[in-house]
Amino acid sequence: MKLRTALAVTVATAALSGAATAETYKIGITQNNVGVDSYQTTYEKAFIAAAEANANVETVVLDAGGDVARQIAQMEDLIQQEVDAIIIWPTNGEAVIPAVRKAQQAGIPVIVTNSNIAEQGFDFVASFSGPDNITQGARSAEIMCEKFTEMGIQDEAQIVQISGQPGYTTAIERAKGFEDRLPEVCPNVTLMETQPGDWNREKSQKVMEAFLVKYDDIDGVYAGDDNMGVGALNAAKAAGREGIIFVGATNFAVGYEAMERGEYWGSIYQSPVDDAEAALQTAIDVLDGKDVPFLNYFDTPKITQDNMGDFTKPVF
């Protein structure tokens, strides 16, 4: 088991500054699978950094390595250690519910981070901190529509969608957000077809190649994340099809670079650093007794070629 503890010495600093009123919280986190992708790797680093920067917080940082059984065992460990709050990045939205319930019954508030658990477990959760995928989808639709309007083709544009892996909540919610919002902002834009790219750049490239053969006129592509968006862009470049507007979600470094080159129009900026800091802050707010909304979304703003200067290049 990977066990890393980040301890912050509080007594000395608190005494020196004379602000000895604040309590020290011991917060445990069990993450999904650190190291499997850059987002989760960056998340963990940011979480540890945020905890170290806060003198009133002591953390126990665990990683389930993508294994449900291990995550449940880690939940039990954290309950045994009598931490003040537990943050969980579920390996599986259903299977972890009994462990979450056990923590809640032991009087330990549980905060779910990044991806929510299944609805039947909501009663045992203090708050969910993470991105709002439906809003992300809706914002992508707005980015696409604003660009079409600027180009003057908002009444005839035809687009295709490359969605995430079928069955994943994030994929379903982003597609829903996009599909619901698009007719509201650009009622005359036609979504011709949707096919999954499975979050995979190569798969997405194949799907886009087929789209390019099938449709002579494609004005825009919405991809469920930038990895797939860049795959689609590669296909269009190889086929020599220019002028297609690419909009993604979860801005990756590759997407950011393609935007710098002027080949990719926009995306949604979702920072793992914001994600991690929001989770820790939500846990602290719950422990402070503040009124925290059940679905505590952190903001994931629109990023396009026009405003990308305001954002640093993603590290993943």
Partner: protein
């Protein structure tokens, strides 16, 4: 029609049932969507099948020798990530041989375990499937790998280049298929591979060094995987850690679809190529027809079963037989 012509046609069908099945699918998809046989589309499908195809060539050797290789997907992720990482560190000229050397080491390790230590290939390569994935993740620290300066490198030539109008991945695939096809059908080594897979004990008694043959098959497989990784890396100049995940089963499906027996001793490179093309064109055809994607998984499977059935029926000479 004279009797001998009929026999010859019958004989051809029996030998090349899978080719007939392939032709039928092509006709079917063309009728469903006129664009299917568009040269751009055909070229595109073969180009994207080339990666799977190159891997399937190597696995054909392993399967004919009576073993399995389930580690090729993870190994492909590994070589892709390694070559991309080294590209920026030591330059492409050194990165490519270094990546080939590292991938061949993995192949040699598997070949040693299966060939010389006689461990079950299913267990060894299933284990290596996750072990190599872990190695890739450790190597990359979980980060996506991307070439920093994509505009100024010649490295893209293997995946994106064209020679006389034909994409380089297709040329590499064809070249490897020709070389390995010759090796399998025309050389003593090729005959040894069939002998070891057909009856390992008999082969040993005939003086064939079985362990060495098996070991060589895994080396060939690793070489093919390294080539596939090179094409993959060069094609997108960047990659996720999981790029090859799940490919091992598609590769195996293509090899088996081509008619290689999982028990070893039979199969050819040509038929594997047909198997690869069938899989590639099915995926593309279903996309062009615009079938809802949940249905595609099911339909892919139905088509594969149909192909295998046609192949077997052609061998039997009838569609249905009460005895095998």
């Amino acid at each position: 029609m004279s009797g001998s012509t009929k026999q010859r046609i019958g004989g051809f069908l029996a030998r090349q049932g899978i080719l007939v099945a392939f032709a039928l699918f092509m006709i079917g998809f063309t009728l469903a969507n006129q664009r299917f046989l568009d040269p751009d589309n055909v070229m595109g499908v073969i180009r994207s099948s080339a990666i799977l195809g190159v891997m399937a060539l190597g696995v054909t050797f392993v399967v004919i020798s009576g073993n399995l290789d389930l580690s090729v997907g993870s190994m492909m992720s590994f070589s892709t990530i390694v070559v991309l990482d080294l590209h920026d560190k030591i330059g492409p000229t050194l990165a490519i041989p270094a990546m080939f050397a590292m991938t061949l080491c993995l192949g040699a390790f598997i070949g040693f375990l299966v060939g010389y230590l006689k461990l079950n290939s299913l267990i060894v390569t299933l284990g290596m499937l996750s072990a190599i994935h872990g190695l890739t993740l450790t190597y990359s620290g979980g980060q996506n790998m991307d070439i920093a300066d994509k505009a100024n490198t010649w490295f893209g030539v293997f995946g994106q280049g064209n020679i006389v109008g034909i994409p380089v991945p297709i040329l590499l695939f064809a070249l490897l298929a020709a070389i390995l096809g010759m090796m399998l059908s025309k050389t003593p080594f090729g005959r040894k591979v069939y002998a070891v897979g057909g009856n390992g004990t008999a082969a040993t008694f005939s003086g064939i060094r079985r362990a060495r043959v098996v070991f060589s098959c895994y080396l060939i497989s690793a070489f093919c995987v390294a080539t596939a990784g090179l094409i993959q890396a060069s094609r997108s100049l960047g990659s996720q850690n999981t790029v090859g995940q799940g490919l091992e089963l598609e590769v195996l499906a293509a090899v088996i679809l081509g008619g290689a027996s999982l028990l070893g001793g039979s199969g050819t490179i040509f038929k594997t190529v047909i198997g690869v093309l069938i899989l590639g064109f099915i995926q593309n055809g279903l996309l062009l027809v615009g079938l809802q994607f949940y249905v595609q998984y099911v339909v892919t499977w139905i088509i594969i079963i149909l192909a295998v059935w046609l192949d077997i029926a052609a061998k039997r000479g009838k569609l249905w037989s009460p005895i095998a």
